[in-house]
Amino acid sequence: KSEGRLVDEEFLDELFARLIRTDMGTGPANKIRDEVAKQYRGRVVQLEEVVATITTEIREQLRQDHGGLAKADSGPTVILVVGVNGSGKTTSIGKLANHLRSGGHSLVLGAGDTFRAAAVEQLTIWAGRIGCEIVTGKSGADPASVAFQCVDKAMETGADYAIIDTAGRLQTQSNLMQELQKIRKVIDKRLPGAPHEVLLVLDATAGQNAISQAKGFSAAAACTGIVLAKLDGSAKGGVVLPIHEQFQLPVKFVGLGEGLDDMAAFDPDSFAEALFQ
């Protein structure tokens, strides 16, 4: 058992460094540092014991309102997927569709990115690998019309789920944020109450800008959950903590690789544990 350490400025700085490295941000890191200083200053403790206490508190915070995927009362459950460029939306849709298909559900994908080169081709390949229907439009087509047709097809064929892909965009692009609002409206028009789930895909390597992303995309598309992609890398994804606190937006899934099986339901326990490893 290693020697205990005096909780002094050096100890607190070391703790602060570990908190910052998770990408939780200065606000939460300072708050935790101050609480530890208040509780332990001048005492002799194990750094790992303090980290374990912090981990438990984070685990508790994340366990609240940690719900699963939404389910419509009747008709297809419509899932809209949004997020900034390159965050992992299209790949996450492939993984989610695969997961639902393995659970015996039928689904229709909507290739709603009608802008980026080979975006439709990319999702079409995933649909082929999973063995599910996909609705596509011409290049440059109105994404809202693809969304409409996807929901329409899902209703017509009695599919359990409709998952709609959208083009990457930045929360600062107001015209593209308006486009998301329009897509939502059109979906709701075809099936009142839809979309039932709006997933914001966040790149785990993102820093504090993820908070601005959560804010902007929530305002435009009323996000209901987060997919934290690329968590198989060295980035910790700690920014979901201030996002959870500020917007009550829960992480529903994590992306753990580039293959169809590389997705898992969010587990607050293992996530909290991994933050400080």
């Binding site: 990319q122 929360q171 390597t205």
Partner: protein
């Protein structure tokens, strides 16, 4: 803003304009927090602040009539010096094809940047050969083919095997035969901690010997920037960095992290999805953004 924060911090302390070392250390703390809020990696902030503190705690600054302005100036200058010097040249060879290789984490903007570099070269009357070396992501080859078509440049593709090293070698050989002045290798995104894929990248580097290796980094990257940039630099000895998606409101602290850890020039910044959205990097522009 940082300047306002420092001004109010120092104002409340002494009306005579003379600061103690302790007062200045409080000011330095504010600067440190601001850099962390901008996503500069912790270890980079520490090193940067050590240089700044050395200058800020000198007699001249403490006795100045406007200490908060002095501190902002010192930080600004230190940032400009660290982010520079500037080098937007592609260092084209006179007598043979120049080989540029783009690498980086998944989704950072490599393939799109290939298009942007192509546009830049076309404006200099140079037609590059693009090489589709991402054999793994669905429709990656198709994506580069479409970009090539849109820009009117040839794209070398091979779909009958799974070896990116071979595709790159064949692409460079083809450029030599066809007389292309530039070849751009678009590689697959990969994790810096993926040993197998980092080894593959090293093999391409060794076999093909690119003249310029650019790391393409997402402008909104957080603390992990030091880890990934460090790993790519250790593996390949980078020649430059391209930072993308800076058209958003990310503060871009990863720029300082990547520059500090690799020491290689930030060549260009990406400011949009279209092919004309690539600018030569200017430290002054980014310094103000990181230090808001």
């Amino acid at each position: 803003s940082l300047s306002e924060g420092l001004q109010s911090a120092f104002k409340s302390l002494s009306g005579k304009g003379k600061l103690t070392e302790g007062n200045m250390r409080d000011g330095l703390k504010i600067v440190e927090q601001s850099l962390l809020e901008s996503d500069v990696s912790y270890s980079v902030v520490k090193e940067f602040m050590a240089h700044v503190s050395e200058k800020a705690l000198g007699k001249r600054v403490l006795l100045s009539l406007r200490p908060h302005e002095e501190l902002v100036r010192i930080v600004h200058e230190e940032l400009i010096e660290t982010l520079g010097p500037v080098d937007p040249s592609l260092h084209l060879k006179a007598d043979r094809p120049t080989v540029l290789m783009l690498c980086g984490l998944q989704g950072s903007g490599k393939t799109t940047t290939c298009g942007k570099l192509t546009q830049m070269l076309r404006e200099q009357q140079i037609e590059p050969l693009l090489v589709a070396a991402d054999l793994q992501r669905p429709a990656a080859i198709e994506q580069l083919k479409i970009i090539g078509e849109q820009l009117g440049v040839p794209v070398h593709t091979e779909t009958d095997h799974q070896d990116p090293v071979k595709v790159c070698q064949n692409g460079v050989d083809r450029a030599r035969r066809d007389g292309n002045r530039v070849v751009i290798l678009d590689t697959a995104g990969r994790l810096a901690i993926d040993e197998e894929l980092m080894a593959q990248l090293k093999r391409i580097d060794k076999k093909v010997g690119p003249d310029q290796v650019y790391l393409v980094v997402d402008g909104m990257t957080g603390q992990d920037a030091v880890n990934s940039a460090g790993a790519f630099n250790d593996a390949l000895e980078l020649d430059g960095v391209v930072m993308t998606k800076l058209d958003g409101d990310a503060r871009g602290g990863a720029l300082l992290s990547v520059k500090q850890v690799t020491g290689v020039p930030i060549k260009f910044i990406g400011t949009g999805e279209r092919f004309d959205a690539l600018e030569p990097f200017r430290p002054e522009g980014m310094a103000g953004r990181i230090l808001q």
